[in-house]
Amino acid sequence: MRREVVVAEGLVKRYTSYERKGIFRKEKKIVEALKGVSFTVLEGQVFGLLGPNGAGKTTTVKILSTLLIPDAGRASVYGYDVVREARNVRELIGVSLSVEKGFFWKLTGRENLTYFGMLYGLGGSELRNRVDTLLELVGLKELEAEDKLYEEYSLGMKARLSLARALLTDPPVLILDEPTLGLDPPSARMIRELLVELAHKHSKTVFVTTHNMFEAEMICDKVVIIDKGKVVAAGTVSELKRKVSDKVTVNFTFISPRPLRPNALSAGYPLSIDNEERGLPKLRVVVPASEVEDATARILRFLYDNGCSVRKIEVKEPTLEDVFILVTGRGGRK
């Protein structure tokens, strides 16, 4: 049984802003960013908090990082309350709030890490070794960027350095707000792979926010989707996909000596055959997710028995994006 590391219970946060109405008059506006958000993150898990812009992701991150006090509800890290025991929490977390800022421009990556390491209580050879290890781990050494000034860094390099700072004290929990936002594919991939490795090989608990569904699907063990300050879906990626549909589509592309008819296969599943005049024919079958392997085997045998040679098999299941659109009701152009 894995330990509960991060627990949020009924988090509520309201922001007050003032809108100017004329020269002397200001109107008070209250925006409810979180309306009772709850979730639990287990040890060694990559946990994804998903949501559209303005859903409350950054507010949640700031509360967990002890940088924002909630109006109601509570949150804890390893049992320490993020408000009353903020200092204990700070010793257990590594935080990255933005990939594009937060460092001294006239210092190199190594110098920035050294300074923040000292600020966090590290020193001597321990700090030097840690900085070296981290520069290597996040790939800044490979890019020969460790001794370049921060002002010369690309966004990808800045993101890597931000992750390295979060890891400076080797904390058991990482809290990262959009760690791959705006990055080029190699940098984004490197960071994703590293996060999974940190969680699964080094038992770190990784809390990330993103609105990149592809990324969440790739790296997250558990996902919570929030919208307008409320949790609208929670579970593993496959659990969430089943909310959209428990059906999977399997496409077979094959070479056939003669045209096939759909009723030639009494599989008991809805299927269609597209005997294209140009290109190879395709057989499409929709089956329950739990029967994919069995159905695939049966159809392969059917095609083989009819003298067909299979060239490609594609399994298409609902994506996390489908789930996101379903639960948030935001589907782009209507």
Partner: protein
Amino acid sequence: MRLVTLLKSGVVLDLYYFKNNRASFFGMLVYPYLMLGLILGAGFLFGSAEAFRRNVGLNVDPVLYFIASTVVAMASVSVMWEVGGNVMFLRWLGALPYVLLAPHRMSVVLVVSYIPRYVLFQLIQILEFLPLIMVLHGPIEALYRTAVIIVATMIGMLPLLGFSAIFAAVMLHLEEESNVLNWLNPLILLFSGAFYPVYLLPAWARAVSTMLPTTYTLELARIASLVSMPSMGAYVALFSILLGLTVLYNSLSLVLVGKSEEAVLRRGGIS
């Protein structure tokens, strides 16, 4: 132990900064004479050497006082900018949240990590004037006068640190992004008697000046510039007042920065 590391972090930050910005380092070296020249130029523009001599007192060496008060003015501006203005600077960089995540109170981080820079820079800048004072007073007396100015600026810094941290708390609370310090610093110097002797100021301004640490540091500088050797009693009285203000402002800053930090954390003002 962590406080020592925090002190070292301040040294390291400055060393890195100057290593990568040599022009800035040379600018720091030239700054005292530029400041001296600027004040001298402005003085001759609006007054005369004779008027200045009369205003600072006939038993005060005007050149020495001029140097000493310049040093105190520079120290005051430096503390206010580096402690009070640092909150603003860190916010601009986006580094403020990461400083807050350090295992220290925010006021401690702001003040402690700045102390090495202050000590180092003040020493460098005061010692730059040593040759000039030696020419005026000979080596032995120059060393004594310089030592007094060094001690005055070091002790004078202690209450000013707390004073600046309170200002940092206000900046944090108000989410102030404009350069309030640009007009606050000259006001502090004016009320402290850096431009005109305090006795020439109106009564209400004199009342304000009694609460400012720089008033007493400037007075120390004036005593160090007396033609005749001053009595120990005068030094002891001024040091006592400065130590009292140290306790007052630093205690207040601990409370106010803590309160301000909490209010900002509640409002969501850390970014």
